[in-house]
């Protein structure tokens, strides 16, 4: 049992082969095998969101997924959004608006926010969307509900919403 299993993934644009113990989570594959430690382990049980990455553009908890399940998938981690020397707009907004303190939940928050903006653009509803048939209005409550899968013990939530809001406003057509 636990014989080596294989999968080929694309991580931040590079092909990566997984060959190993099927118990290895996508999170541990990224952190331990690929040394992409930007994705954080906060609970290992899908209860905090620190391990959020994008799989084929959608945000998921990488702790509750096996690496071997992702054959053929495209994974984007915080390292794929931008290095410190060339931050993406969202990453810069988190710095400007102090959308973090200790920084441990931050890569997960940012990956989550990126996908969240795409979900909003696609018109996906949330638990606070008043009218399910028309598109959501991006109120503060909408944004905070949609970001509630990412815990932040430092309590940077209001600043996280400010950072996301700033990016949304910058992207609005003039």
């Amino acid at each position: 049992m636990s014989e080596n299993c294989a999968a080929r993934l694309t991580v931040n644009g590079s092909p990566e082969d997984f060959l190993g113990d099927p118990r290895r989570s996508l999170l541990d594959f990224l952190r331990l095998d690929l040394k992409l430690t930007g994705t954080k382990k906060g609970c290992d049980h899908g209860q905090c969101g620190a391990c959020t990455v994008l799989v084929n553009g959608q945000r998921i908890n990488s702790c509750l997924s096996l690496a071997v399940m992702h054959d053929g998938d495209e994974i984007t981690t915080i390292e794929g959004l931008g290095p410190a020397s060339a931050l993406s707009e969202l990453q810069r907004a988190f710095v400007t608006h102090d959308g973090f303190q200790c920084g441990y939940c931050t890569p997960g928050q940012i990956c989550s926010a990126k996908a969240m903006l795409d979900e909003l653009a696609a018109g996906w509803p949330s638990a606070v969307t008043k009218d399910l048939t028309s598109g959501p209005i991006p109120s503060d409550e909408e944004l905070s509900e949609r970001m509630s899968g990412n815990l932040c013990r430092c309590g940077a939530y209001p600043n996280i919403i400010d950072a996301i809001r700033a990016v949304m406003q910058a992207e609005e057509p003039a």
Binding site: M1, S2, E3, C5, D21, P22, R23, S25, D44, H45, G46, G49, T52, Q58, R59, I60, N61, L64, S65, L66, V68, M69, D71, S112, A115, M116, E119, A122, G123, W124, P125, S126, A127, T129, L132, T133, E145, R146, S148, G149, N150, L151
Partner: protein, 320 residues
Amino acid sequence: MRAFDYARATEAAEAVGSDARLLAGGTNLLDLMKLEVETPARVLDINRTGLDRIEADGEGLRIGALVSNSACAADARVRADWPLLAQAILAGASPQLRNKATMAGNLCQRTRCQYFMRTDTRCNKREPGSGCDALEGVNRNHAILGASEACIATYPGDMAVALAALDAWVEIDSPSGRRSVALREFHRLPNGIAHRDNVLEPGEIITAITLPAPVRGRQIYRKVRERSSYAFALVSVALVLRMDAGRIAAAQLAFGGLAHKPWTDSRVAEALLGQKPSPALFDKAADLLLSGAQGQGENDFKIPLARRTLAAVLHDATKE
């Protein structure tokens, strides 16, 4: 996590008759495997079996077993005609989990009883015959309806509560062929055999959930919890209700957080039918719902909470 053999299925038929645990989104199974509450020797990954389509089914809808919770809630038909289902899905878990969690997996979600989830306690659900440490333990989240000395766990999900109110059916492929089970009959009560959550037999696979034709009326899913998001329900109510000339013309209800299954009680709707809405009527409905309710001490509050939540939802659905 115990070591296991992993295999990928390319069609659902491979899962039929298999003795492997079926791995879909993994959000519950892998969680429990990490805790060694689940220790399968073989795991069959069914994510590539193509059961991820939402299709019209006469006037109803057939939702593939592997449709993600997010995709279902975002589906235009679901949002327009079965908004209760979208509301219930969106009330549960987090966006990340809903992206991965599947329809069938969510139906099979296991209880959040903390004694079930740790292997160094007595739990009839995890280890039949060992006893129940929740009875005299921390049981604030536990059942007040339909529980037994064997098990006071609750079914933790939201989606299935809405599906029960909507009279959905579960389509199952078994070695002897296809069968369908009413969602209201899919989950079990713990009496006798606490370790079985539902009626799924070994070697069976859920292939789809089917919704009957849309029902007219207001649809409300109300979930009560102290944290405003990313938390399981203390109590939830799913309601479809139609008014006609100031009287309640139709009502379908189901309740979450109260029992080992999404709780339905036909007497509640019957008491409402043809009546003018009033606080007294809502109380009468609650009396029927809670006539057999039994608290364990810490969860006694669920009895008045269920009563008041039902009143809130009925008030909301019947106001002009």
